[in-house]
C-alpha cells in the first residue's frame, strides 16, 4: 500500500539557480533520455531532498499502513483469510524495508527516518489515520487502497531514480497479489449474506472520502511541481492519478452492486474525465497536520514499538558478539 499525493517541499527558484549550470544540464539531459540516476551520480540538492522526502513518506506509509490491517490478522475469519492477510501485511513491512534502504542511498539513515516519523516531522499517507471498525474496512483497504497505491506506484516506477524504481518494480509485483486478495474478499462479501453486503456498503461509505483524498489535493490548489515533473520525481498530477483510479475501479465497484456515496460521480464522455463532488480539502489538511481520528494512536503505537525494541537494537550493535552462521 502507499499513500499517493505526496507532500513536497516548496520549490524555490534559488534551489535550482544555485546549482552548477553545466552539471545540471548534463543531469537533465540524462533524465530526458530516460536514463536512471544512481546513488553515486551527481544530482541537484533539491532532487536529493525531494526524493528522500518522497521515498521516506512511502516507507512510513507502509509501516503505519500495516497497523490498521494488522489488527485484523488476529480476527480474520477462517484459515484462508488469516494466512493470506498475515502474508499481505508482512509484505507491506517488507516494502518499508526496501524503501528505507532506497532512501538510505541518498544519505539519510533508517534510524533518522523513523525518528522523524515518530516526532511527526515527516508524513505518511493520510488514509491510515482513519479507523478500521469492521472486517469490511480491512477488505476495503486490501482491495481499493492497494489499487490506488498501484496506480501511483506504476507511474513512479518509471521515474528517474534507479534504486527507487527497482524497489517499486518489486513492490508492484507483490501488490498485484494484494489486489487479487482484496478483490476476492470483497466479492465474497458482495455475494454473501445481507449482513455481509451491508458491512461492505458501510465500509465504502466511510472510506470513499479518504480514498478521494488519497491522491492528494486537486491540481487547482496543489503546489507547483513543474521542476519535479521535469526531473521525473513526480510522474503525474494528483488529478491524473485520481482519474486513472476512477477509470479502473468505479465500474468494478458498481458491478458488485454497491453504491458509491457521491451523487455527482459520473464520467464526462466529452472530456474523458470523471466528475465528482470536490473532496473536502480542509479536512485533508487538518488530518495531515495531525488532527485526524487515528493520528495520535498510530504514532503512539509506532513510538512504543521503537522504545520497546531499543535494547534489542543496542545489543545487535554490540561489538562483543559478532555471530556468523552459515545458512547451509
Amino acid at each position: 500500500m502507499y499513500g499517493g499525493g505526496n507532500t513536497f517541499e516548496d520549490v524555490k527558484t534559488d534551489d535550482v539557480v544555485l546549482e552548477d549550470p553545466n552539471r545540471l544540464a548534463v543531469f537533465e539531459a540524462r533524465i530526458a533520455r530516460g536514463e536512471k540516476i544512481e546513488p553515486a551520480d551527481w544530482m541537484p540538492e533539491l532532487y536529493r531532498k525531494q526524493l528522500i522526502r518522497m521515498i521516506e513518506q512511502h516507507g512510513h506509509s507502509e509501516i503505519i499502513g500495516a497497523l490498521p490491517e494488522g489488527t485484523w490478522i488476529t480476527r480474520a475469519p477462517g484459515f484462508k483469510r488469516k494466512m493470506a492477510l498475515m502474508a499481505k501485511v508482512q509484505d507491506e513491512v517488507g516494502h518499508a524495508q526496501l524503501l528505507y534502504s532506497a532512501a538510505e542511498t541518498l544519505g539519510k539513515s533508517r534510524e533518522q527516518m523513523i525518528d522523524d516519523l515518530i516526532t511527526g516531522k515527516s508524513k505518511y499517507s493520510n488514509i491510515f489515520n482513519y479507523p478500521t471498525f469492521t472486517w469490511a474496512d480491512c477488505c476495503f483497504i486490501s482491495w481499493l487502497v492497494d489499487a490506488g497505491a498501484i496506480v501511483n506506484q506504476l507511474a513512479n516506477a518509471k521515474g528517474s531514480y534507479g534504486p527507487y524504481c527497482r524497489a517499486l518494480d518489486r513492490i508492484c509485483a507483490e501488490e498485484s497479489f494484494h489486489l487479487k486478495y482484496g478483490h476476492h474478499c470483497v466479492i465474497y462479501l458482495a455475494a454473501g449474506t445481507a449482513k455481509q453486503r451491508e458491512m461492505f456498503q458501510e465500509a465504502l461509505n466511510r472510506w470513499w472520502p479518504p480514498m478521494m483524498h488519497f491522491f492528494g489535493p486537486s491540481d487547482k490548489i496543489s503546489t507547483h511541481t513543474e521542476v519535479l515533473m521535469r526531473w521525473k520525481v513526480k510522474m503525474g498530477t494528483n488529478d491524473e492519478m485520481r482519474n486513472q483510479f476512477l477509470d479502473m475501479y468505479v465500474s468494478k465497484i458498481w458491478e458488485l452492486g454497491f453504491i458509491i456515496p457521491d451523487p455527482k460521480l459520473k464520467k464526462n464522455t466529452e472530456t474523458n474525465t470523471w466528475e465528482y463532488t470536490e473532496p473536502d480539502w480542509e479536512e485533508f489538511k487538518r488530518v495531515i497536520n495531525g488532527d485526524g481520528p487515528c493520528n495520535k494512536e498510530r504514532l503512539e503505537v509506532r513510538r512504543i514499538a521503537e522504545e520497546r525494541g531499543r535494547w534489542v537494537r543496542k545489543a545487535l550493535a554490540s561489538p562483543k558478539m559478532a555471530y556468523v552462521t552459515p545458512l547451509a
Partner: protein, 251 residues
C-alpha cells in the same frame, strides 16, 4: 489402530501450532526492528499453515472441518500447552518461548518422520524443513542477545527463569502414551524431552545464560487436558470475532 490416541496426538500438535502462530502474528508491525517483524510473521504463517495440515488430517479421520474446529471451540476443548497461549509480553519473553518451543517442535517432527502412521510421517518430512529455519533463527538470536549487553543478558535470563516451568508443560503425557509408543506412532514425550534438554543445553552453553535445575522445577501442566490460563479464552474470542458473526457465511 486406536483412533482416539492418534487424534489426541494430532490435536495437541495442531492446537500448539495454531495458538503460537496466532501469538507470533501479533508481532506484525510491532517488532523491535523491521527484519524481526518479518521473521516472526514468516514463522507465524508456517505455524498456522502446519496447524491447518494437521486439522485437515483430523478431518480425514472424521473430525469437523479445520475452520470449524479452529474457530468455534472453547478454551477447555483446546489441547495446547499453556506456554503457547501466554501473551507475547516483551521481545525477550517471545524469543525465549520461540526458542524453547521450536527446539522441541523441530525434534518432534524429526521423530515423526519415522512414524508408523504414514500420512503423519509424510507431513513430517515436509515440515521438518520449515522448522530448520525457525530453530536457526531462534539459536542465532539467543546466542547474540545472550552474550551481547548486560541488559540483553539479564532480560533473556529473567525470561528463561519464567518460561521454563511452562516449557516443561510441552511434554505433558497423554493418557494414550503407551499405546502411541507401542504402535510406533511417536516415541513419546519422555524421549522428546530428553533430546530437547540436550539441545537446549548445547545452545545455552554458548552464551552467558544459565539454565535452571530441571529437577527442582514444577512443570505447568493441564493444557493437554483442556485446563488453561485465563489468557486463552479471550484470545479465542478475538480470533473468532468475525467468524461468529455468521458461522454459516462464507468469508
Amino acid at each position: 489402530m486406536n483412533d482416539l490416541a492418534l487424534k489426541e496426538l494430532l490435536y495437541k500438535m495442531a492446537d500448539d501450532l495454531l495458538i503460537l502462530g496466532h501469538r507470533n502474528s501479533e508481532w506484525t508491525g510491532m517488532g523491535p526492528l523491521l527484519e524481526e517483524d518479518i521473521a516472526f510473521s514468516s514463522m507465524a504463517q508456517d505455524k498456522v499453515g502446519q496447524s491447518l495440515a494437521l486439522y485437515t488430517m483430523l478431518h480425514q479421520l472424521g473430525e469437523q472441518t479445520p475452520d470449524t474446529v479452529a474457530f468455534t471451540r472453547n478454551a477447555n476443548q483446546f489441547h495446547n500447552c499453556v506456554l503457547v497461549e501466554l501473551p507475547n509480553q516483551e521481545y525477550d519473553f517471545s524469543l525465549v518461548r520461540h526458542f524453547l518451543f521450536d527446539t522441541a517442535d523441530s525434534l518432534r517432527w524429526n521423530i515423526l518422520t519415522k512414524s508408523s502412521y504414514e500420512p503423519l510421517a509424510q507431513l513430517a518430512g515436509k515440515i521438518k524443513g520449515e522448522l530448520r529455519y525457525h530453530t536457526l533463527h531462534a539459536n542465532t538470536w539467543v546466542k547474540q542477545l545472550g552474550s551481547a549487553t548486560e541488559e540483553s543478558i539479564s532480560r533473556l535470563q529473567k525470561s528463561i527463569n519464567i518460561v521454563m516451568p511452562y516449557a516443561l508443560g510441552i511434554f505433558e503425557e497423554s493418557p494414550y502414551e503407551t499405546h502411541i509408543i507401542d504402535k510406533g506412532i511417536f516415541e513419546g514425550e519422555k524421549v522428546l524431552m530428553e533430546k530437547w534438554q540436550a539441545k537446549v543445553t548445547e545452545v545455552i552453553s554458548q552464551t552467558q545464560l544459565h539454565l535452571p535445575d530441571w529437577k527442582i522445577l514444577t512443570p505447568v501442566l493441564g493444557g493437554r487436558k483442556g485446563k488453561h490460563s485465563e489468557h486463552l479464552q479471550p484470545m479465542l474470542e478475538e480470533m473468532s470475532e468475525v467468524f461468529r458473526i455468521d458461522p454459516t457465511a462464507e468469508w
